[in-house]
Symmetry: D2
Subunit: 360 residues, 4 copies
């Protein structure tokens, strides 16, 4: 009979995802798109809280479809029920549960999540404009889901007039740049051009371990939220301010200033050792995101070093750098690209790594 703080007597190990903070903000891990048996998911709402706790998340939203509930003959409830079931356990386990729902229409305009709702029932409107207005009236944060889903946008990922209407009427605040295993480069560019918040989600329907090798260390896609404090209100303020990064498959998608701030905390030069004309630079990465680095254009012709390298998560990499006339330099600057920190589709973050040669 299941009682107790964790509602279960199973062994529980919580993943610690090492991602640094950036100055002034806490880094919260949030998955804002999740389903349960209260729409077309296949697990009970409490499972989502357990999964979130194990995987090191700070916050989740259960966003069951308003319009699509294939189990409705067996699972009978209104649109708030999954939230109500999960809330006590989330409180016990210190997971921030943010109430949400998915508005599920054909294209245009497609599917949208509305989060920070008080009551999901008023969103059950026949006309999609009315549904989204009902969410807006509750001051919801609204984002467009999987804009490149092949079923709705079979060959190209298009922005429709309906999305312009939503944007102009304050009913579109973000877009999923990543949904499950899909990254949408068009959505990435729209977020940059239209100043929309970048969102990453799982849209998970089944038990999460069927989709991701959690035991083996694989992590779900998620939205990193850079919040003033660890609370629902902190997340809300950060989402409306656009302070997010999408973390998926060892990559980050975010506004450039955020990637720069993270980079500052991530790559460390631990030592510099001289061997005649060359230097061994010992790099360390204290985080759980490997750093994939390539040489940028514009380096000094007399510096020879790797074309590409990787500093593994939580690990070290020694790279040799050959310098002509090292004695001429007080400080060596290497121009690099962090390939897995995406400032645009196919464009990594340009950075400079600096070290002081030992010129004795």
């Amino acid at each position: 009979m299941f009682l107790g703080i964790f509602f279960s007597s199973e062994a529980q190990v919580r993943d610690t995802i090492r991602i640094p903070e950036i100055p002034g903000y806490k880094t919260l891990k949030y998955d804002p798109h999740i389903h349960t048996v209260f729409s077309d998911g296949t697990v009970w709402p409490t499972v989502r809280v357990h999964e979130a706790w194990r995987e090191g998340l700070d916050a989740i939203s259960i966003t069951d479809h308003i319009e699509y509930r294939p189990f409705r003959n067996d699972v009978i409830s209104d649109h708030n029920r999954a939230y109500e079931i999960a809330k006590p356990l989330a409180d016990q386990m210190d997971i921030i549960l943010i109430h949400g729902t998915e508005i599920t229409r054909g294209m245009p305009p497609g599917h949208f999540n509305a989060i920070f709702l008080e009551d999901a029932n008023p969103v059950d409107e026949e006309d999609w404009r009315d549904a989204l207005r009902a969410a807006k009236e509750q001051d919801a944060f609204i984002f467009w889901n999987h804009p490149g889903w092949a079923r709705q946008q079979p060959d190209t990922t298009l922005w429709w007039d309906e999305h312009t209407w939503l944007l102009e009427n304050g009913m579109l605040h973000g877009i999923e740049v990543v949904n499950g295993g899909s990254y949408y480069p068009e959505a990435h560019m729209w977020c940059i051009e239209k100043n929309l918040t970048m969102i990453g989600t799982t849209d998970v329907h089944g038990p999460i371990n069927l989709d991701y090798d959690i035991h083996g260390g694989e992590r779900r896609p998620m939205t990193l939220v850079f919040a003033k404090d660890r609370s629902a209100e902190g997340i809300r303020e950060a989402l409306f301010a656009g302070r997010t990064a999408v973390y998926f498959e060892d990559r980050l998608v975010a506004p450039e200033w955020i990637l720069e701030a993270l980079f500052e905390e991530m790559l460390q030069v631990r030592s510099v050792t001289r061997h005649r004309g060359s230097y061994s630079i010992m790099l360390f990465n204290p985080t759980d995101i490997p750093m994939q680095i390539s040489k940028a254009r514009g380096n000094e012709p007399g510096f020879e070093f790797f074309r590409t390298t990787t500093v593994p998560a939580g690990g070290y990499r020694s790279v040799p750098v050959y310098i002509d006339n090292a004695a001429d330099y007080d400080q060596i600057e290497l121009k690099l690209i962090i390939d897995n920190f995406m400032v645009e589709p196919d464009k990594g973050l340009p950075v400079t790594m600096t070290f002081v040669p030992d010129n004795l």
Copy 2:
């Protein structure tokens, strides 16, 4: 939108559990104790079919509690509904779904599974004797669940008069020797002494990957059924005949004749190489169950070999054997114990391994 034979567009990989057949019978893998949201489990019935398919099972039973349904205010149905929901998918995926239920009472007599039901609703009786009678009337196979569950048998695992009554009245055909992570030595002995069928189950409530590292190759406990054919009827006949083995944590519990028959198919001498006074015996294990071997008493004094060794699943082990006066022997017999083939609690299977020395 869920369509398709697998009800999902997820990638699917099916585990192949290599366990040999024994002469005259197919080896079927069966988990006869599983829960869903229709009692106190936390997944939809179809999840159980997907899990079974992925993990290489041939058959499962969903055995939701008759008496304990904490989600009954949201999930409204009779006692056959989980079966009905899972059946079409099981048929598509070629998983044998055997209808069952769990009769859930305080000790004595505790919890029982009744399987091979036509209709679980008549089992919903107030008196436990009536409930079990209702199962018997449908010719169900009935087994006692987790007889050593600490909540019901806190310090010792006891056989009560009520169990004698059930046995004498044809309402007790097997016992769980293994339930999830627990092995019950008393139950093992009762099966031997009273000629009851040995059963192993998961009793899984949540998504199975939370309990077992499926991605990493961990396997759930299960009942191996040695059946005349791969069908529900084949399983039924074998269960009533006691032709089962419990497979859990790289161990087998079974009647001795079954373990002997399996052993014959499992340990192969691939080569014998002579080096002066010693022989290298190359052993091969073509199955997924490692063989943990120790030296038995009573070997020839002139034979020197390992005290313990392991032939890994699907792998090889070269063992040295030192023989005095090898020329005196036409054939070498080593007396061994297979420690993880349990004929009784703490008692492995005695076997003889034979090889022909090269006496040139």
Copy 3:
């Protein structure tokens, strides 16, 4: 005390790499670039045979440097010694050991492996042309190693006059398209343009498990050789004929006809299920190479299906296909690209997948 066929009493499990044959040829797995303590590697030659056996290889070459032997004060021998030490064990374990060496010079011309040598000592010549001539005189197969190694070609991967000279004088038969973790697109194109054999190697120096997660299922880069029979002579004939593929990180690089022939054996349509206007196509991949598939241009406008999908190694994927006017078609043809079958850099293999709609 080491005795026995495997020179060790350790447990041994051999990986089975499931890659199909192509008509008329066996698919052999060969790593032709490996080091030991007889140059600057850090393991004894027998370790290389054990590693090869465990990892499912058919053949290896130990190719210690002629010119670079940092341990020569402790490890004293001629250039054939590593081969001589490894050969008896390779014979016992049925690994084809092909004698080779690495000619190790500055750029140009860089490093070269010569394999199928009788005697590596004559290759120890001061002038690189003489060293390569000495290899040619033994009818060696000669390939250029890591042509894009940053230390020798810091910013661009160039073809030098010296390579033209080697090619014109019959001393260059192949190029490493993959060396360890590096893929060289320029080398890939040179092989296509100049009709050279595509080679993939590890160039491993330390214990291989330090570089690859062998226990976890990661596989080393290798050259697949499509040989008339499983023998050193079979490999030699295939290499000179250019019948190879490079297998690395779940990708294949090969001549287009080879990729086409492999594809024919790899993607299977297991079932087609109709649901009103759509079909679920169950794909199966019986190999250990996942198939990464994207939609090609030029499909019928009335066919709607995935943009990208993956059929996992040894697994299934159900994909929905929506067809307008399915009754008009006797057979459906989907034009696809297999992205991880590389016919050129960044260019996957174009294929057509066909299925018959059920038009009842």
Copy 4:
């Protein structure tokens, strides 16, 4: 070309083995029995330093056999050479390298390691007594290796007169209780009875990843040394004082006072939650050693709780405890056994876990 602090440009990730300190001492991880190509191992000495660093060790000893050097025709050196080769790298990587050797004789007396040598060459004596005397003259710490090795003690693990002679003459300070995959219960008892230091080693010969799934998180057996400081001298003092624990396969073997001190730092009661007549006790284990717990005899009859449970490494376990008349107790004491903390063979550590019931 190998340069740089790590002698390699490979990516390096160091394991962090979370084992607590005990009051007054640092917990150092030491493997004092390792081979290289300078006896019958198959890797170069530097590999051992890299392996140690990756696996989170503080200290190692390379202990090549004095008497058994099968590669001596190729690898030519005196008995100090492996140490000399490994030492500069060990210094760079902050691994404490303690010079040692293995004295390798038939039984009696068998094999011995002598560590903390200045010069291993004088140990090369024909008579075993002279060899051990030569080690003693250098104030070496001497321990008996694999006393139950089946080749030397085929059926029983015996203590010979020769061992008494060694003990009485100050040439026996410890015994391997664990060597690789073997635990010797007799050696465990001898250490307790004769006040000898308990030692655990790998005796590794090949690349360590062939024997242990390092990538997958498996750890080698090792000796935990409770030292006043992290230095060779600190280890020496602790070894002679008997302050060690053997850590292998998630178990600890040690003097009882050490196990008690470790336990105090390992099991934490994180919360106590009341549900009518029962309590949920949330246990947390901040270390990398799982805690396998069983109920001891002598608990209050009114307390009902688990028979066995496990608190996973770095994880949580919620256990229900049912208390009759909880209001009568200011504090609840549960008597437990930590089964994997072995104070004797088959005897776990008895402990008491205390919590305060919430009696509102």
